[in-house]
Symmetry: C2
Subunit: 141 residues, 2 copies
Amino acid sequence: VDDAQVEAAIERLRAAGHRVTSPRRAILKAVASGRGRHLTAEEIFGAVQRTQTDVHMATVYRNLDTLAELGLVEHTHLGHGPAVFRMTTDAHDHLVCERCGSVTDVPSKLFRPVRRRMRDDYGFELGSQHFAITGVCAGCA
Amino acid sequence: VDDAQVEAAIERLRAAGHRVTSPRRAILKAVASGRGRHLTAEEIFGAVQRTQTDVHMATVYRNLDTLAELGLVEHTHLGHGPAVFRMTTDAHDHLVCERCGSVTDVPSKLFRPVRRRMRDDYGFELGSQHFAITGVCAGCA
DNA sequence: ATAAGTGCAAATCGTTTGCGTAGGC
DNA sequence: GCCTACGCAAACGATTTGCACTTAT
């Protein structure tokens, strides 16, 4: 399914002079299999362990790190808990409900008017968001 | 200087049935003395220790917690490090520069157009921001 | 063959908790 | 005197690091 995405990522790894090991492959596959869902390092670890029992948590973190450096995966902070990871796609922000914790993705385009005022009034160039935006979702209101 | 603010807070504590202890007073004073600056628990701890050597870190955290429950102080996450605290003032968000780490406060009003679209298009009611907004500041661009 | 990547255990950082005691009310 | 808040030590969750060994290149 998302094999193409994984293969492309492996290509990028090779091109960047990194080695393609089986833990690395498995971790990449685990993240990709999330299909856009946000996965904690723990969940990725769990998924990997189903096929490679002796892969260590430290290896998961180290790999998520190098994958992030290449821009292949991203991590975000949705709340007070652990960080969450997913394959890099297009620019989007995360609306996290303060009541139920649900996460809604919204395209970063939505922030255009704000982006403009930030630039004009504060000289601040909005980047891709690393942290969640909090509020109350439709279901809870 | 900010004695009035501290006294008012102490009043609120009393009114809420909390006791006014000297560690509590010192912690409150330390946060208020930040005068809007964001202080880490560690910094507050340090400030308190200058006058009350045996106040423990746990006490700092416990107090910041109760003060937050009363809405007297707020904490925010500006980056990957520790949380930061300040006296509650009016609704504002934090623009954190990805390069130099500088923090710019902006009134939450700036988000009005976005707030509207969030509500209309996603049924999501934007709350007071708990996490920083990242980007690049004027100085670094 | 060489150095990047790994497993493991132990360390780190920020924060929380259980417990017995001290001190505000 | 009662009960909240305290000091202390120890536990905690998430992540990182040092080191000896494996393995892709």
